[in-house]
């Protein structure tokens, strides 16, 4: 569970069944466990109106557990990028009454939420639960490039090569944490790099 620091740093809850006509779940890797645990608290027939979109982790676990919930639709995708066109299409055709549930890594929750915001869903109405990696999507404030799966503090920008302090300052619009040059005054000063976002 991510600790609360500054106001823009997202905090996540525990998935809970919401009143609604359709329920769209998007999860990656261990996020599947959050759905399975919520299912134990869901009213009977809840998954008859549900669609689950799942990106399995490298171990390929949890597919059977989600399938066993018998959602109206179950879709697997190899990556977030590969499910993006389908997600956009689903949201473009959706009606009020669709509820969104996001579980898994921060990167997945953030990127799915970004698409949902564009579709007009209020972020406070989205159910989220963090499971698995704390690796961050980071935007370099200098070159604006996005680096995926950042686990260290500081981290190197994959685009411009600057050494960046990974801040808790988060943007829902671009679904990324902010990275700011850590040694702008003296580039020869190289602080030790620690792996802290595991």
């Amino acid at each position: 569970m991510a600790a609360k620091s500054i106001i823009s740093r997202p905090v996540y809850g525990t998935l809970s069944p919401q009143p609604g006509k359709h329920h769209l779940f998007i999860a990656d890797a261990e996020g599947a466990l959050a759905i399975a645990e919520m299912a134990e608290r869901a009213p009977p027939g809840f998954f008859d109106d549900a669609e689950i979109v799942f990106i399995p982790g490298p171990d390929g676990n949890h597919i059977a557990a989600l399938d066993a919930l018998k959602p109206a639709q179950f879709h697997q995708a190899p990556s977030f990028a590969s499910l993006l066109p389908r997600l956009r299409q689903t949201l473009a055709n959706a009606h009020m009454g669709l509820r969104l549930y996001l579980s898994g890594t921060e990167g997945l929750i953030g990127q799915a939420m970004q698409v949902a915001l564009e579709a007009g869903i209020d972020h406070t109405s989205i159910q989220t639960e963090h499971r698995g990696s704390l690796a961050r999507r980071m935007q370099c404030v200098h070159c604006k490039g996005i680096t995926e799966n950042v686990t260290t503090q500081p981290a190197t920008c994959a685009h411009c090569g600057l050494l960046l302090l990974v801040r808790d300052h988060y943007s829902r619009r671009i679904a990324a944490f902010q990275g700011v040059c850590i040694n702008a005054e003296d580039r020869s000063e190289i602080p030790p790099m620690e792996e802290i976002f595991r």
């Binding site: 919401q18 009143p19 609604g20 006509k21 359709h22 949201l91 473009a92 959706a94 009606h95 009020m96 009454g97 669709l98 509820r99 579709a119 007009g120 869903i121 209020d122 406070t124 109405s125």
Partner: protein, 321 residues
């Protein structure tokens, strides 16, 4: 003392009867300057000096927010109410000098919405007059469903149809026309926000149905100015100012506190904004809560009261004022 609402010295520039029950009032600034800007859904509190008595009633601004040369309100005459609307209808004439508050918006549009679905009942149409004007100017996507008793009491129905044509749908009670609410709520595109203004029963019905259809509460906006209900007189002790006062039958608790020279904060005077929330020190009796601000739990707790609309019956009530 109204929190954040400075007063405006205005003159009544026009009084226009609209139908059997509703009259429209136009206000301009006495100094000839433009009035402060406002957004669709805003209201002003109008001060009515009626002999010894001062009434402060909130009314939605119904003119276009793009035109701040004047403010317009529409007042429905309530023959059995506490007299504010009757005062407006009987006593207010063009040229009269009055005082209104700065506009305050507790029912604003959420401009992130992809579409705005508006439901109006009766005189609840007034905030939508301003909101539709604001949205139409920006090319906004809206749809207005307006229920009125009869065509002749459909205040501004003709104006709205002329301005917005098929975006306005009318329902007449006397012809047994009803909003198909469930169909409406289940066919709206994702990103729609819902706005409802009308009688309390209509607001509760719409909010309940929307919640059960899975509309997140963030997308459901409502406004209901509960006019303070008359009731049995009761005595109140104000612990902080050390006064004991009597609330008359036709007076609200807030008005009685003000009449005693104590100035609690207020904004809407209709039980929705939360400004006048007051702690109860002790009580022996029963509260008559009429507000939309406190939760049911808070109503049951006996620890808080909204003096603008709520009353008390019983032996003693001590408030932290």
């Amino acid at each position: 003392m109204s929190t954040g609402t400075t007063k405006l010295d205005v003159v009544v520039s026009d009084v226009v009867p609209v139908n059997d029950l509703v009259t429209r009032f136009h206000f301009r600034r006495r100094d000839g300057e433009l009035l402060p800007t406002f957004s669709g859904g805003a209201h002003v509190v109008v001060e009515m000096r009626d002999g010894e008595r001062t009434r402060l009633n909130p009314y939605s601004l119904m003119g276009s927010p793009l035109d701040t040369r004047e403010y317009t309100i529409s007042v429905r005459r309530d023959d059995v109410g506490r007299g504010g609307s009757l005062f407006m209808h009987r006593n207010v004439r063009p040229g009269m000098e009055m005082v209104v508050s700065y506009p305050v918006n507790l029912f604003s549009l959420d401009l992130r919405a992809k579409k705005h679905l508006m439901l109006a009942g009766g005189i609840g149409i007034t905030p939508f007059m301003a909101q539709t004007a604001q949205l139409a100017a920006e090319g906004g996507n809206f749809e207005l469903h307006y229920t009125c008793r009869t065509a002749s009491l459909g205040t501004y129905a003709d104006v709205l149809r002329e301005r917005y044509d098929r975006r306005v749908r009318l329902y007449h009670d006397d012809l047994d026309e009803r909003i198909e609410l469930d169909r409406l709520l289940s066919t709206q595109p994702l990103g729609t926000h819902l706005y409802v203004c009308g009688p309390a029963g209509m607001i509760n019905w719409v909010r309940d149905r929307a919640a059960s259809f899975g509309w997140p509460s963030e997308t459901v906006h409502f406004e209901h100015f509960a006019a303070p209900q008359p009731g049995l007189p009761f005595d109140v002790t104000l612990a902080v100012s050390g006064k004991t006062i009597r609330v008359d039958e036709q007076q609200s608790l807030l008005e009685a506190i003000e009449a005693a020279g104590v100035d609690p904060p207020y904004l809407c005077r209709g039980g929705v904004c939360g400004q006048c929330e007051t702690n109860v020190v002790s009580y022996d009796g029963k509260f008559i809560h009429n507000d939309h601000w406190l939760s049911e739990e808070e109503h049951r707790s006996g620890k808080k009261i909204m003096p603008c609309v709520s009353r008390f019956e019983g032996r003693s009530l001590v408030l932290e004022r």
